[in-house]
Symmetry: C3
Subunit: 220 residues, 3 copies
């Protein structure tokens, strides 16, 4: 096979493979070549060159993923969410509709300071319209309520809401609120947790607390 033909074939294979790998709505704009298999990008969403997107994600309509941002696998990004440079979202996070990230703590037109990073850890959920001030980390499996304005770090499994957001308890991996008696809690889904007064952790089986269903037809 000639080098020329090889290159062409390779290109074609890459093209087909890419087409098969993830779904891009005809009205979406995908410039990144780092979009994982099984991910769906809906209408009028824009994934810039250099933005990293994992496998089986859902990128809702009118979303914007900037160069220098990164999201893991199975992340659900609902409509109208912008993920700016320096924002990192780990696997299995849920970003509610119209939630808002930032990357400049003191924005001014004409002054460009270094952007400040934000981290969303594995399995965290951010409610609709919540705002995450940059420089903070949302812990694993935490839950940020709708309309919360997060101005500091959120512990793993913590439930926070309000403006500014304050902690109002703990949630299970499955998202339901936990009720502790002394230092123990059992979620209605069956998973057990233990608290040391400052933090909580699941005990017993490491499997999922209930059978997760892939959001197969998630679109928004």
């Amino acid at each position: 096979m000639s080098a020329k033909k090889s290159a062409r074939s390779s290109h074609a294979e890459k093209g087909m493979s890419q087409a098969a790998r993830y779904f891009k709505h005809p009205l979406a704009l995908v410039e990144s070549d780092e979009v994982g298999e099984g991910t769906r990008v809906w209408a009028w969403a824009h994934v810039m060159d250099g933005a990293k997107v994992g496998k089986d994600c859902n990128i809702g309509e009118h979303c914007f993923l900037e160069s220098g941002s990164s999201i893991g696998d199975r992340v659900i990004v609902k409509n109208h969410v912008c993920i700016w440079e320096k924002v990192t979202v780990d696997d299995d996070a849920f970003l509610g509709p119209n939630m808002i990230f930032t990357n400049d703590p003191n924005p001014r037109s004409g002054f460009r300071r270094p952007f400040v990073a934000t981290f969303v850890r594995k399995g965290a959920s951010i409610g609709a319209g919540a705002i995450i001030v940059c420089g903070n980390t949302l812990g694993e499996y935490c839950s940020v309520g709708a309309g919360a304005v997060v101005t500091k770090d959120v512990p793993d499994y913590a439930l926070v809401y309000g403006n500014p957001a304050r902690q109002h308890g703990w949630v299970c991996r499955c998202g339901l609120k936990l009720e502790f008696t002394d230092d123990k809690a059992r979620c209605s889904c069956g998973r057990d947790y233990i608290s040391d007064g400052m933090a909580i952790r699941p005990i017993g089986a490491e499997g999922d607390c209930m059978e997760p269903q892939l959001n197969a037809d998630e679109r928004g």
Copy 2:
């Protein structure tokens, strides 16, 4: 007339009739065949198959109406609003710009629970950027202030705002705040109301309190 010609004519008539029935901006995406006469759908808005839209509505730019959602007649939907499955909006409601509905009270990637319904009753107004946590009903002619986070039902004619939203009085059908003396109030528009301490209702003429003007050139 041949069957073939009949089918073609019928198709053409349907096409013309549809084109005349409502306005679709060339950059909008309308997959539903249940969009009422006189409704306007602006650029980059998406009305999914199975979404129901009444007559004389205005669907602003970048809106999303999901399958399984429903809005009545003369509903104004300002820009960037998403109406999810299980959200029902009655006639004459106003949905302010960037206001937010939800349909999952405990969202987690990988866990799909049944969606929870939200109802917006006739004539209600939802201010800009307000968030309606699912499972709640906004009563007739209530008014939700800009930026409110609604976490429980809102009574008819109630004025609510804040995060979380609390009631701060009552409003007239025309939207103006009512000042009660004992159990009676007269709006500057002329309509009278009576209160039983728990709820209010208009008294006297059932007509509109002032001549409403159709938002003929509403676009956003």
Copy 3:
């Protein structure tokens, strides 16, 4: 030169000049002929006929600038911002992502009252997701925090946040918070301020407190 040729040339020149004057993303919609030199309008943004946009502005994706709105020079408009009729934004303002203006204090479907004006003065910054209730003026170089709901005027150089927004201090022209000792403050950027107990003003050199860098590659 014939009149016909002249007209064609003039048209071509105008087209070229326009094309050179500002950048319009191929997926943006610009109907206004009052967009200043060096301004960039990104995908799925819409600048309506009659909207005024100054020089070197950045209009993010999914923005909407309505007829009757006006923004000055070097204004940064992040994604998803709608600037309605009767909103006036002066030079060097920063409008954070998903921030929200309004122009009707008592919206109702079917009732059209006169819109109410909002003013954003020179150098002001509005944080992500903040909501500006119409009828208010944001003073020069003020800073509105992310998620604030502004319901009254904001003084020059004031820092406000919360729902409703309240003042929590003062900021420098460069955006950093000022710490006053008695009636004087020096920003870490070197600029001095004096307070009369009600308001503050910069003293000394009138130049910029630090070398501003144009946001040359600002996109979102």
